[in-house]
């Protein structure tokens, strides 16, 4: 159970760009350990599905892990991490503050002033909000505006096919 101090410390580490050595993970598939975050780099061992690892770093699609004496990089989607690696600060603190008021039980409704619910009942009772739709329409953008935004962020369009369904019969 995270306490508030730990959470704030984590947030501060995050904001300072520090690497979290505290995070653990588990391999959801067997993997080769690579020396570098690239499949072309040297094979420095292997790690079996189900292995518990310490997470050392992450880098664009790769995650550096240590298990026992072995250390290396594996694909980031091969590791399920056990705790928030980089939660956004303020929302996390708010969450911790709520947790500090007592553990929630499954199914317990937490009443918070000003919260707009989106439960099944709330949705069922919803009334058409035309003004809201007009407001929404006011933010609608053209394709060229979006392209300009992408250029500002140096986002480069890439041609990537959709991924096949791994469970589909070939």
């Amino acid at each position: 159970m995270i306490n508030r101090r730990v959470s704030i410390a984590l947030c501060m580490m995050l904001l300072s760009g520090a690497v979290h050595a505290a995070q653990n993970g588990v391999l959801i598939r067997s993997e080769i350990l690579h020396a570098q975050p690239a499949s072309s780099s040297a094979n420095v061992g292997s790690v079996a599905k189900g292995s518990n690892v310490n997470v050392l770093a992450k880098k664009s699609g790769w995650i550096q892990v240590r298990t026992g004496t072995k250390q290396g990089w594996v694909r980031i989607l091969s590791v399920r991490t056990s705790a928030a690696f980089a939660s956004s600060a303020a929302s996390d603190i708010a969450g911790v503050a709520q947790m500090a008021t007592g553990k929630r039980q499954p199914g317990q409704i937490v009443a918070t002033a000003g919260v707009r619910g989106l439960s099944e009942e709330d949705l069922k009772a919803a009334h058409f909000n035309e003004q809201g739709l007009n407001e929404l329409a006011g933010y609608k953008l053209s394709a060229s505006a979006a392209q300009s935004f992408a250029r500002q962020g140096k986002l480069v369009r890439r041609s990537i096919p959709y991924l096949p369904d791994p469970n589909a019969a070939n």
Partner: protein
């Protein structure tokens, strides 16, 4: 995250439905839809000027008719905004539209009237409605760390729209046809759509077939990557959501309507495999991410 529909209470009374919308075999449902018909759109009404919801829906499902689809989506979106209005933050809404529109441009339906909004709810969820309406709750938005994660979430919702998942679930609706023959589009078009959608925004609490969600995850990841973002934003969000206590009310609806986050992560892992090994790194753009706290 997710899709869906809603509406204010229609004037008709609707029988409570226990599991009317649980689709366990979307694949078979899909085969029932016309996909390549060069039929005229439903804007050409018969001389009687009568319109029935089923006709509207079929029109919306046709490849060449976007009008009905957008009208259905507008009704649904308007009702969602009735349950939870937009966050009053123009800079935030503009930013989300910039990211969303750019990601949507990478899809097969770049020219839909895409509109994106952050709704004022602490719940952790996202929704979409036919025709290009996409919403993310403030609760989920505040869990994001960078622009690539936002792109992944929006990509998932965009995929639902592109694949017309919501329209296909509507096709299962037992409500279709209620009160239809008394309605004409000119006068009561909105009522027609309401009858089609049923009771309130309740339809938003129905789940799609799990394979539709897995497909939206796979497509969302790719759409964000096509847009130049780091491809791993969506799985990072799934991990983040997976760390929320299952009993937490903020994820109750999300967990009811979607497969568990760790299952979704594993499915993405299996789908990606080594396919993206040689993809040059994309951008996370944490520095540009519009934070609202």
């Amino acid at each position: 995250m997710k899709k869906i529909l809603m509406v204010l209470l229609a004037t008709v009374s609707v029988a409570p439905l226990a599991n009317a919308f649980d689709l366990n075999d979307l694949g078979n449902v899909l085969k029932q839809f016309p996909t390549n018909q060069n039929t005229t759109t439903t804007t050409e009404q018969p001389a009687s000027n009568k319109l029935d919801p089923a006709t509207v829906l079929l029109g919306a499902l046709r490849q060449n008719s976007v009008d009905d689809e957008v009208q259905i989506g507008r009704q649904i979106a308007g009702n969602l905004l009735g349950a939870s209005p937009l966050v009053k933050n123009a800079a935030l809404q503009h930013y989300v539209n910039q990211v969303g529109r750019w990601v949507a441009l990478q899809s097969e339906r770049p020219d839909l009237p895409w509109q994106f909004g952050v709704i004022d709810s602490t719940d952790i969820n996202a929704f979409s409605a036919p025709g290009g309406y996409v919403f993310i709750t403030k609760g989920l938005y505040n869990k994001l760390n960078n622009e690539s994660e936002l792109a992944g979430v929006l990509g998932h919702e965009i995929a639902h729209v592109v694949r017309k998942h919501q329209l296909k679930i509507l096709q299962q609706s037992q409500w279709i046809g209620l009160g239809a023959d008394a309605l004409g589009r000119e006068v009561k078009g909105q009522d027609t759509i309401q009858n089609l959608i049923g009771s309130g925004a309740e339809i938003m609490s129905r789940r799609l077939d799990k394979n539709a969600e897995f497909e939206a995850d796979r497509m969302g990841l790719v759409l964000a990557a096509r847009a130049g973002y780091d491809a791993y934003g969506l799985p990072a969000v799934l991990e983040e959501i997976g760390h929320v206590a299952p009993g937490d009310s903020s994820v109750a609806l999300l967990f009811k309507t979607h497969p568990a986050p760790d299952v979704r992560f594993s499915m993405l892992s299996a789908a990606v495999g080594d396919r993206l090994d040689n993809l040059p790194p994309g951008k996370e753009l944490a520095d540009r991410f519009h934070r609202v706290k």
